[in-house]
């Protein structure tokens, strides 16, 4: 169920139609990818933006997870966690739709800004790369917060107290104690966020503009719009390769292994 489709995908990607309509084997689908700048540009863009989104999510999630596990009074802990979890049970589509209503030219934020006299006329905030990144960060946030919360819970408070008593300042505590301890959680969170961002179709499609084409959209176009399944398979396989590669590099860099990360 899992392996067979991937093999079929690979096989399909090496076949292409010649001019006389026969199917033969070859690399032409992959060559096509490297010859057309728009294809590999989208590919590179998707990869870079995914890494950026992963990084942003981490920066936002880390203080929050720290606050929940270490700073806030224990009786609010459970409540805050439930609050964080709740929105993510709701469909991604609904959440993206909410952002569209907020940000569009006739949207809620613009309405208030104009009322308050900050803007003279409404500004189109939707359909830009920055809003797309905002949307992606928003939709994947949970998958970063939860693993970090669970590793920080196992961090012994006395370690931080000891460092504090020995005169460490906030930053050295952060970089020498908290982050090293949280690395497994950070890595697993980053992998999940990265995968979700890379494979996301909805958010870039609805929130990104005409210029912010996502690679999954290219795949969709090849499959559904131009019915070039072989080309689409080649793209799909490239995406699979890219995601496995980056996850592998990430694991190697932080010396973690997949099995440990999953648990």
């Amino acid at each position: 169920m899992i392996v067979l489709p991937q093999i079929d995908l690979l096989v399909m990607s090496f076949r292409f139609e010649t001019d006389d309509g026969k199917m033969i084997w070859g690399f032409s689908n992959y060559l096509q990818f490297f010859e057309e700048p728009i294809y590999w540009l989208t590919f590179v863009r998707t990869a870079i933006y995914s890494i950026l989104v992963t990084f942003l999510t981490l920066v936002i999630a880390l203080p929050l997870a720290f606050y929940i596990t270490k700073v806030v009074a224990p009786k609010f802990q459970g409540f805050l966690l439930v609050l964080i979890l709740l929105p993510f049970w709701v469909s991604e589509l609904v959440r993206v739709y909410g952002w569209m209503i907020l940000l569009r030219e006739s949207g809620v934020i613009n309405h208030f800004l104009v009322k308050l006299g900050i803007f003279q006329r409404p500004v189109e905030m939707l359909y830009q790369d920055s809003t797309m990144i905002l949307g992606l960060v928003y939709t994947t946030m949970l998958f970063m917060v939860v693993p970090i919360v669970s590793v920080l819970e196992s961090l012994d408070n006395s370690l931080i107290e000891a460092a504090y008593d020995l005169g460490a300042n906030m930053w050295s505590i952060l970089f020498k104690i908290i982050i090293p301890h949280a690395t497994p959680g950070i890595v697993s969170g980053s992998i999940v966020v990265f995968m979700l961002t890379l494979g996301n179709y909805l958010t870039p499609n609805l929130m990104g503009g005409k210029n912010s084409l996502w690679f999954t959209e290219q795949i969709y176009n090849q499959f559904i719009a131009s019915f070039n399944w072989n080309q689409g398979s080649a793209f799909g396989f490239l995406l699979l390769l890219l995601s496995s590669l980056i996850v592998w590099v990430g694991l190697k860099l932080t010396r973690q292994n997949l099995k440990k990360v999953v648990q």
């Binding site: 439930v82 709701v90 739709y97 931080i160 494979g199």
Partner: protein
């Protein structure tokens, strides 16, 4: 720094501000969507024109509420059926998988375990297209070799179920395994000693112990399936599930009916999620 250490006022204030900001960021889109579902205006945007239930119940020429909207209602029904079968299948298979990986030893266990985890790192879109390709290949094969046309291999209801099942089963396996790890196997041995057979042991002891995890996993599977978009997008036939249908509507322009549907979705999923959380708390 932390609760037990003295902290400066600015530090505390800054943290509080940050968390409040975060939660505003988190809830703003959802709240706005819900509120605008009740706005008496043709478009889901401000200014506020008064409270109305039209987008739920109306059946007028210029505004059709969600309860009279055939297309939306149909897609909700399709989603329910898909989610039902996916839950049933993936809970059964996932639980068996958890037993397999936790309690048995066999050759290639590591390899199989790795393969079971694979769907977690394969983007949903890829899963969708590869399953589409495989079913297409199989379909053509059966048709050219034996001349039978099997409906299952066409994009449609059952392919969607299969596609979602392929990765949701993994999640169920992980959830159930986590619980099974805590299980004390001496309980099983005791029951066997007391004369129970293998089947009775599993039914009365092990499954009873696993019940909260299984229910939790089933609820998770149901929600995941209900709102899956990426994989479903490629496998869907003429029966659109709710997310696909909503996507088509959102893309073509928005009406408050989408808000109304979203509102129902938000309320529904929150209730399921809260119930799930409540029961899992209680069992612990």
């Amino acid at each position: 720094m932390i609760r037990t250490l003295p902290t400066s006022k600015t530090y505390n204030r800054f943290f509080k501000f940050y968390v409040i900001l975060y939660f505003t960021f988190l809830f703003a889109p959802l709240v706005v969507t819900c509120v605008l579902a009740f706005n008496d205006s043709q478009f889901p945007s401000l200014p506020w024109k008064g409270y109305t239930l039209d987008w739920f119940t109306a059946n007028l020429p210029d505004r059709v509420g969600i309860f009279h909207d055939r297309i939306n209602l149909d897609s909700i029904w399709v989603s329910f059926r898909v989610a039902f079968f996916v839950t049933l299948l993936s809970t059964t298979v996932g639980t068996c998988g958890a037993f397999l990986f936790e309690q048995e030893d066999f050759r290639f266990k590591q390899l199989l375990y790795f393969l079971m985890l694979a769907p977690l790192v394969i983007p949903g879109v890829i899963l969708g297209i590869s399953i589409l390709l495989l079913s297409n290949t199989l379909g053509t094969y059966f048709e050219t070799s034996w001349g039978v046309d099997i409906d299952l291999f066409r994009p449609g209801f059952w392919l969607v179920v299969l596609g979602q099942f392929s990765f949701i089963a993994t999640l169920v396996t992980l959830v159930v395994s986590a619980r099974l790890k805590k299980f004390d196997r001496t309980l099983e041995e005791a029951a066997l000693n007391l004369g129970a057979n293998r089947f009775e042991v599993i039914w009365h002891i092990t499954l009873k112990f696993l019940r909260p995890a299984i229910f939790g996993a089933a609820a998770l599977a149901f929600l995941m399936s209900f709102e899956n978009f990426n994989t479903t997008l490629f496998l869907v036939g003429h029966e659109a599930t709710l997310p696909i249908n909503l996507y088509l509507q959102v893309r073509d322009g928005s009406t408050p009916v989408i808000n109304a549907t979203s509102f129902l979705l938000i309320v529904g999923t929150s209730l399921v999620a809260l119930a799930n959380l409540y029961f899992s708390r209680k069992s612990e």
